[in-house]
Symmetry: C2
């Protein structure tokens, strides 16, 4: 491609509202343009990268035995009502009516459509298992679209769905996808981790892994072991202590209860937070018992964790088997318990009390006294309040022991979720009646898995990991072009002729080349080239008189004067070596 003809404009400054580096760079380098909040046009360079990621995904899906189909974006609302999701999906589901006032949803995901399809097409175990996938535009009306392609409202996804006759089959289908995802993200040049994740609203039994590209901008926290392969989303991560508690018998409180003095109330006027308590009392946060009241569905409960720990709402929700959970507001707490904000505690509380394992181990705890401006000290769980509901109700903390090995501790990373594999089980097949006849002629429910990749999000994730102060540095496998060929002075006949010859030879070898044939100053050309981030660069300048060009890898940044033949060879080695 000749750059003179390429529909490309670079920007010196990035628009003020672009927070993420990838968003800034993709705007500045002319890969994307915003049409509305969270809605983008992929410019020719951006489209090329997107297509390369698509092709990698397609190749690896095909290799894993998945079959491509294409389902519609417009989905009849009836399907979503049948699965029970129409009411609960909330405002993220974009809804519209057709001219006959029939309701439709713009698909954010396709469980309903695929399950109905397979229900209608397959009736015998002989035609299972099957894994189907599509690469398709999805819609999700994010409350706060941001970070460019990282959280958009219209985006490209690969979604796959497996159908098996039994759970062992699902395990195998899941493993195939899990492995394919590793190959895909490796080929895209991502630094990623597959982490255990919470099942979330999509529901279903069995395991789930998120594929996280490590990046500071990531909205998820990953807890990974310093020693073994353990890695989990913080929402799911547990610690060695909690893990051993959950397999052992429930604690009856600390073992050395005899040595603790009796509980004692003391005056703490206006001291409502852990921080204030630490400052005024002088004790450590790890000696406090933090109590928070939640409304879970119709139920009201108190959850107690150590003052230095964070409550994990998801864990509480799962423990209670609730659909919805939220912190109770101050008014509700006051009405139900008579206790003003900041002074609630487990001792004598009339609500059911859920106690985190680590809190249950405290011996000289400090807790709210359920009375304005008063706290207790020397609180001992099991002695001063009941310990009938213990569990892992907190976020793992950095430095906690790894739950999966004996040596490691947990270290935290930020991650961008670029993929997700999920054992759905029978959640959808049951509701939508996807049955098959087994070998003995008995009707059974299909066992499903679903597997997503945020194809457009991968672009942003890659840029978050591959850039420097001057711009993007694409991994060669998904770069818009492999080589940027830059004659410095296009009006110099010798330079342009040499550049043209190199261009033709590279094209003949199947290399993707962008020829900067613009009549611009060298500084402008190099600045643009750095920004755009094509991984290999050949500069044709005055030294072409002695047959020399400048060869550079964008990542290394080191320029080398070499002959044109050698430049050609290096390019071919780099392109074919991938």
């Amino acid at each position: 491609m000749r750059q003179n003809q390429l529909m490309l404009s670079t920007l010196r400054e990035s628009p003020g509202d672009a927070e993420a580096i990838s968003h800034q760079l993709m705007l500045r380098a002319g890969y994307i343009r915003q049409v509305a909040a969270g809605i983008y046009t992929y410019m020719p360079l951006g489209r090329r990268v997107l297509r390369k990621v698509e092709e990698i995904v397609r190749e690896e899906m095909d290799r894993a035995g998945a079959q491509e189909l294409l389902m519609p974006a417009l989905q009849p609302a009836e399907l979503w009502k049948e699965s029970g999701r129409y009411g609960v999906y909330g405002p993220e589901l974009m809804r519209l009516q057709d001219r006959h006032e029939r309701e439709f949803a713009l698909g954010p995901t396709h469980e309903e459509v695929i399950t109905t399809l397979v229900r209608n097409e397959i009736s015998s175990y002989r035609r299972l298992p099957v894994t189907l996938y599509q690469i398709q535009t999805k819609f999700r009306d994010e409350r706060r679209p941001r970070f460019g392609l990282l959280r958009g409202r219209e985006f490209l996804m690969k979604d796959a769905y497996s159908f098996d006759t039994d759970w062992e089959g699902l395990d195998a289908s899941y493993q195939r996808m899990y492995k394919a995802y590793h190959r895909i993200f490796e080929r895209c040049g991502l630094n990623f981790r597959a982490v255990e994740a919470d099942a979330g609203a999509i529901g279903g039994e069995g395991g789930t892994h998120e594929f996280m590209a490590l990046a500071d901008i990531g909205e998820d926290t990953i807890a990974a072991c310093t020693c073994c392969g353990y890695a989990a989303n913080l929402e799911k991560a547990t610690s060695r202590a909690a893990a051993s508690e959950s397999v052992g018998s429930h604690t009856a409180g600390p073992s050395h209860s005899a040595s603790v003095p009796a509980i004692e109330k003391f005056h703490t006027p206006g001291i409502r937070t852990i921080d204030q308590l630490v400052q005024s009392v002088g004790a450590a946060a790890s000696d406090m018992l933090k109590t928070v009241v939640f409304v879970a569905d119709e139920q009201v409960v108190a959850v107690v964790v150590r003052g230095d720990h964070e409550i994990n709402e998801l864990k509480v929700k799962h423990y209670l088997g609730a659909e919805d959970i939220a912190i109770a507001d101050a008014e509700t707490v006051l009405r139900l318990t008579g206790v003003p904000t900041g002074f609630i505690g487990p001792v004598g509380l009339t609500l059911p009390v859920l106690v985190d394992y680590a809190a249950a181990e405290l011996t000289h705890g400090i807790a709210g006294a359920n009375e304005g401006d008063y706290h207790y000290r020397n609180v001992q769980p099991g002695r001063d309040f009941e310990l009938s509901r213990t569990g892992d109700f907190r976020n793992a903390a950095e430095g906690d022991g790894c739950p999966s090995c004996a040596e490691g501790t947990l270290q935290f990373y930020r991650g961008i979720e670029v993929g997700h594999v999920f054992k759905l089980g029978t959640k959808y097949s049951e509701k939508l009646g996807a049955q098959f006849l087994d070998s003995s002629g008995k009707s059974q429910t299909m066992i499903m898995g679903c597997y997503g990749i945020g194809v457009s999000r991968v672009l942003s994730a890659v840029v978050e990991q591959h850039y420097d102060a001057n711009g993007i540095i694409w991994p060669i496998g998904i770069a818009p072009y492999q080589v940027h060929l830059i004659p410095i002075a296009v009006k110099d006949e010798a330079q342009m002729q040499a550049a043209q010859q190199l261009y033709d030879r590279l094209l003949a070898e199947g290399v993707e080349v962008l020829l900067d044939d613009r009549d611009e100053r060298a500084g402008v050309k190099f600045k643009d080239a750095d920004l755009i981030g094509i991984p290999l660069r050949i500069v044709v300048g005055r030294d072409i008189a002695s047959g020399q060009v400048e060869y550079m890898e964008r990542r290394a940044g080191e320029k080398q004067a070499i002959g044109t033949e050698e430049a050609l060879e290096r390019v071919l080695a780099a392109v074919r070596g991938r």
Copy 2:
């Protein structure tokens, strides 16, 4: 691909509501499944064909110098308001609101988005011309979706847009697309004609051609010359007589007016139609003057054509420069003229009268007398009523002289519109302010063209042209697989082993093969193979003992017993010969 694993079910009967052959066959052969009216899932076989058409379109667009981008389906309503189309597009435009109650349209086309984009990106003549395209899902809420993929509500399109500095540039851009379209449809195996078409609601000055796949199910009529290359959509087609009139001076009526007897009123009780007149009076329809009253915008006019001709509303509309046109209802006509339905005529009519050239040539015309139950005979245009507004107001008729050559006559065909190239001019660039600075620094408006291909519709059009009583016959360039390899008895070790060897060798040669490894009766396998329509077939049966297989081209249907090596060679010749 092994057929045992392929997500495919064929149907013996086609669903009752599928009218078009292509719709029936694509359902029966398992290429598509309906999700809602006009909304389909492409099953794996259908997805493969769709991808092949996509790739052909992409290759030819790239070869023609167009650059691919990807615009969003969700378009802010403001853009459509700015172009003035939001109000006039009607219920075919699917509209929705986001969670903040901002209005969006689901793009049926992208003139607004692309013009705004290019306006923002390009400001100098130096960066023009440019042609941009995308392959993308479009939405149009058809009043009556039907014929499967031929008239759907969600469909795949290629749309391209060119931007030039002047009209000569547009002509060149248009020609490049015109030629690319020929290559695309040839490669898809379509029998098509490029026909002159009416500019229609999309507006703009300059030419437009439709690419019509010839097929009886087609909703358009094409008038094509028996001699020269002339071909036009009936809405646009003219005849030799009309064409020569329009370039000469307007007629003052027939030349031999002296010999015609005076006008004479006669009683025609209850005779309201041309057919009834022909029967009761005994004259030919071509001697009648048919008069129809139209409301065009605020204007009411009468249009007169010969009794054997059909009025072309579009031609009348263009003549009047009207936005809207419709036949006046009986009540309106009665109120304005006092004449009951069936008896209106041009003689003494108080409305403006538009007379078609052919009608203006009549000498002994029969026309309504503007009085219930009476007609006139011996009506002579120019003598008995004014001929100040003559023009080509009728549809060309089959057998009319060709307007473009001296010998040919017009023949009619039915066609499916698979592509459309269109000189938009400045219609959108003016409204949306797409200006550039010319070489003298003066601000000018960009000159645009737009170019569409109904990618998914091509599938249906191809099937309408390529089938027989047993099923589809895909052209090899877009077939889901190139070879259908069928071992008759999969439990026969010799057969399966030979089939497996052939399969491996074909795959190694890059041939796309579907191996029917199902344990089914030969009859079932052949019936399915015929229905699915893979163009080349190799059957491995008992003769494999003597090294022979059966080779067949689906189109010819003739089976030949040949050696496996020869079968392999024939396949490679057929696949590479395309």
